[in-house]
């Protein structure tokens, strides 16, 4: 049975997995679930992932959740180049540490981006408090600064100075692109002051080919929608 990926392209980990599958020519079907319509909480989907979270993957009757777990699983079960998830213990530990860092640090980017117009205009939820937004902003800024000054180096274009991308580059890259949903001038200001991140995103786009842009179409159109709404406020 063909591999099935369940997700929404507004969700950054869903994009990361879809792009990884495409780049490695792995046969799969993408099943769209709309987060705004809360389809990830439907009984049909809860039967697949009782946590009610996307992305989820079904591989021949085996159900998986958690983006980093899915990426590790795919890199281990499909024949993909070693650079995605190296077999060598030290190299693998470097990638694992990035994936763990992501969870508790850069993932705050999503919370900050969401607490803006997305929460109110797209998901129709109540406005967050000023303190909540400020806290998410600080967490995000700390994480982006660490990415810029420490995780990206002059040695090579990818994370930790590697010459080729790992699954951490894809996952973390798809988180950073979520910044596009901020007001355009805010997103530009964040990237203008962090040239290594900007450069890394370009390298990632080159390495991942047309799939990177293709799976960001939904983000781009939502960004445009939000920008037009903002101009009317």
């Amino acid at each position: 049975m063909v591999l099935r990926l369940y997700g929404d392209l507004l969700s950054q980990p869903t994009r990361a997995i879809a792009i990884f599958l495409e780049v490695n020519l792995i046969d799969y079907e993408l099943h769209f679930l709309s987060l705004t319509k809360r389809e990830h909480k439907s009984p049909e989907f809860l039967a697949i992932n009782p946590r009610g979270q996307i992305p989820a993957l079904v591989d021949d009757g085996f159900n998986l959740a958690e983006s980093a777990t899915i990426l590790r699983y795919l890199a281990s079960t499909r024949s993909v180049s070693d650079h995605w998830y190296p077999a060598d213990a030290r190299k693998r530990a470097r990638v694992d540490a990035l994936l763990d860092w992501y969870h508790t640090n850069l993932r705050n980017t999503a919370k900050y981006v969401f607490s803006g117009a997305l929460q109110v205009l797209v998901f129709k939820l109540p406005e967050p408090t000023y303190e909540e937004v400020k806290k998410h902003e600080k967490d995000m800024t700390d994480a982006l600064n660490y990415l810029e000054t420490t995780l990206l180096t002059r040695e090579g274009p990818f994370l930790l100075g590697e010459s080729e991308p790992s699954i951490a580059d894809v996952l973390i890259g798809c988180e950073v692109t979520q910044l596009k949903l901020l007001p355009k001038r805010d997103c530009e200001a964040i990237l203008d002051s962090r040239p290594r991140i900007r450069n890394w995103l370009q390298e990632l786009e080159i390495a991942l080919g047309p799939h990177f842009a293709r799976f960001h179409v939904r983000v781009d159109s939502t960004a445009k929608f939000l920008e037009s709404k903002r101009s009317k406020l």
């Binding site: 009782p50 946590r51 085996f62 998986l64 959740a65 958690e66 983006s67 980093a68 777990t69 590790r72 699983y73 281990s76 079960t77 213990a89 030290r90 693998r92 530990a93 694992d96 540490a97 994936l99 763990d100 860092w101 969870h103 508790t104 993932r107 408090t129 303190e131 660490y146 420490t150």
Partner: protein, 231 residues
């Protein structure tokens, strides 16, 4: 050069790594880094680990941080018995899922415990806002419920019905034991009526004996001191 573990046993991931090392008779030196004194943020420590977080290990000049990464690395480097981090992909994926789930869910437990106690009494920081405590509390309670009702089963003593512990059992177990820092009433409210969790922690302590209990000596005595001083 001997493997070194840097950490403070008041921190749950440091305990987890320490237990894994001890339970497998791996030779190492423990370098105490006092969180209370902010030693993890000194320039000497940051020269070793720029992230300024503990625990981390140095294995022959190679620095590894992030608790679950350290544990995965140790399993591979020392070819530890398979149950710690199974080679079989489906079993391994189960362990990976737990480790990932931990970060954004159960990890709220220590955040809640810290805010309810140590933040003010031990770390002399200003008290947290009620909203933050509530936020952590909600995530913690939901996570403990998931642990009790779906990750622990009748099949085996350990997570996902396994008969032997994995690195996820140790990491998640050390997170839950952080609740020893709560006052009795609160601890009862958080963990009461969760028999599977209680049974699981006892099984973990027994399987890794005497290491689990020994590594918990510091936190258990700190908890007692806190309780005595609050009376």
């Amino acid at each position: 050069m001997t493997l070194k573990l840097y950490g403070d046993l008041l921190s749950q991931p440091a305990r987890a790594v320490d237990i894994l090392l001890r339970a497998n008779n791996i030779e190492y030196e423990f370098e105490y880094v006092s969180l209370r004194k902010g030693e993890h943020l000194t320039s000497a420590m940051k020269a070793l680990n720029p992230r300024g977080q503990v625990p981390f290990i140095i294995d022959d000049g190679f620095v590894v941080c992030e608790s679950s990464t350290i544990m995965r690395y140790l399993c591979q480097k020392y070819s530890l018995p398979d149950h710690w981090y199974p080679a079989d992909l489906k079993s391994r994926t189960g362990v990976d899922t737990l480790l990932d789930w931990y970060h954004s869910n159960l990890r709220a437990t220590s955040g809640y415990v810290f805010m309810k106690g140590m933040q003010v009494s031990v770390f002399k920081m200003s008290p947290p806002r009620e909203e933050y405590i509530k936020l952590k509390e909600d995530i913690m309670l939901m996570s403990l419920k998931i642990l009790e009702e779906s990750y622990l089963t009748e099949e085996g003593s350990f997570l996902l019905g396994a008969s032997q512990p994995s690195i996820a059992d140790v990491l998640l177990g050390c997170e839950v034991t952080q609740t020893c820092m709560l006052d009795e009433a609160d601890r009862e409210r958080v963990l009461g009526g969760k028999p599977k969790i209680a049974k699981w922690l006892a099984a973990l302590e027994e399987t890794t004996a005497p290491h689990f209990a020994e590594v918990h000596t510091t936190i258990r005595s700190t908890a007692k001191e806190m309780e005595a001083s609050s009376k």
